[in-house]
Symmetry: C2
Subunit: 325 residues, 2 copies
């Protein structure tokens, strides 16, 4: 039995708790939170500790800590801190900062004899894996990653900061005709605008200037200005009723040739009713791999690119070779 | 530079030679064939040796041998034989016999300090990987593998043995409505007939009883009787003109839930203008991994489930973390 701690009990943390119930070789040993009193109201059958100052009681043993925090403020601090005490798994997803974060986690874990699997989930994570496989199997190929249809937390937050906006939810929508172009074997040069559009549902303050909100959102640099953006005003009730879930998904397409020009195309796609639950489910498989890697005597930071896929699986090697090959 | 030998110069062997030209860290060091004189007529710039009795000249060094032979007669003999001399990669694809073949290759390589990667390609191979990932990420999920549209060599050969048939080419066609059912989040129980149909193009002898051929093919046990089969008679010229290539492809779909029933779906798909060239391209990446595993001091048999994906890639770990995550 692998003992798991959840550190940070937000959307991902809740997803991890749910996923652990479906993996009989693992159990939830503790939840560590900055707001332990609040979590205790919700969670009755699991020890809840204060993540900022805790002494592990002698009856709690933790093999792997799954870090549910965000990449902007939580993980850069919590990652190296907890990786000195436990094996860790996280979903650090600021793509540009992954190499630096890897170095810091590698140093922390090697210092203390632990294993840290960073940037796990579906992107980064599974999609990274599929991009690497596509590039390896088809040298010189072109790769295309499309996201959505799904909710982007970052873009929702950005829209929510516009003056006059009470609440906002942003959906990233892949442009179907662009996907079809790639699927047909073409390798077009696509601008950001040609690959995705954005739809933002906004609850505005009473009396707010809606046209001004619309323009301020759609012209926002980095987030919206390079895309076609549709802003749709709805009521708070409609927001609560129709936009309370976190669907997402995406596509990794690799288009290349072999031999004297034979067209070869691979595609990975996921279609998720709950983005945080699926991400959490992937993190849980990585916790299994971290536990096994440490048991093999390995140390340091890993990404999903560095892990033999069999280590993620609850099945034995014999069963994998007999039933899954 | 990794020195590669091709053993068996058929469709796969030709594909390997083509793939090596696109991988600058590898070179073709030698071709070993049972018909060396015939291969020499075609290949001018590479040493060609008799695979059944050869002494490696001192100027030829081989790091990894890629075995291009078939699973029925060639690999059960050649695999353990060559794995005692070289690191090997093969595409052994008799699914039911993979566990036993693995054991034999594991014993042969451990005896001699080599690495053998067995059953590589797209199925078994990439599809195996996707089935394992789907099962790990979504415990309790259902997995569906569809093949085609594409040419099945085994079914073509079987049809060719029917009396009155001069030539035959069988296409496996996945049933689109079944794929759509799974994609929509359903987990139907599908019979073989409900997942695939078969279309056979036949060149018949002059005066042969076409209705008898049609019935004999479509009622053939194991190969055809469990499917809806269409038999289409064409001329030898048409066969040569329209059915000379080996397209193939397929789908691995995993349909499951997380949490309190949120539907999650993943799909891997490939669409191949040349099945043997793509398979060969995957084998070449496994040759790179075999070389690296041996350099790390590893010994024994591996499948693609046992290999960290980064080892397949020509890119450095730094580049992978910077550009592919």
């Amino acid at each position: 039995m692998i003992n798991i701690a959840i550190i940070g009990y937000g959307n991902i943390g809740h997803g991890v708790a749910a996923a652990l119930k479906r993996n009989s070789d693992m159990r939830l040993a503790a939840i560590l939170s900055r707001r332990p009193e609040q979590v205790k109201k919700e969670v009755k059958d699991t020890p809840v500790l204060n993540s900022e100052r805790f002494t592990l009681p002698p009856d709690i043993s933790i093999d792997v800590a799954i870090l549910g925090g965000g990449s902007k403020e939580d993980l850069p601090v919590q990652g190296p801190l907890f990786a000195r005490r436990f094996c860790t798994v996280d979903s650090f997803d600021t793509h540009a900062d992954i190499p630096a974060y890897f170095q810091r986690m590698d140093a922390a874990t090697k210092e203390c004899g632990n294993v840290a699997i960073i940037s796990a989930g579906w992107d980064p994570g599974i999609f990274s894996l599929e991009r690497v496989l596509g590039d390896a199997f088809l040298p010189g190929s072109q790769r295309f990653t499309f996201w959505g249809p799904g909710v982007s937390q970052g873009h929702s937050d950005a829209a929510r900061k516009v003056s006059g906006v009470l609440d906002a939810r942003q959906y990233t929508i892949p442009i179907e005709s662009a996907i079809q172009q790639v699927r047909s074997g073409q390798t077009p040069s696509l601008s950001k605008r040609e690959m995705h559009k954005r739809v933002v549902y906004v609850v505005a303050q009473a009396g707010a200037d809606r046209e001004k909100i619309r323009q301020e959102i759609s012209r926002m640099p980095n987030y919206y200005d390079e895309y076609d953006t549709e802003v749709i005003f709805i009521s708070a009730e409609q927001m609560a009723r129709e936009h309370a879930t976190y669907p997402h998904g995406g596509f990794v397409l690799t288009s290349g040739t072999t031999g004297t020009g034979n067209k070869q195309l691979t595609e990975y796609r996921c279609q998720l009713a709950s983005n945080p639950e699926f991400t959490a489910s992937v993190l849980v498989t990585c916790a299994r791999a971290a536990f096994r890697l440490k048991a093999e005597g390995r140390r340091g930071a890993f990404t999903m690119l560095d892990i033999p896929p069999a280590l993620l699986s609850p099945q034995s090697n014999d069963v994998l070779r007999r039933n899954f090959m």
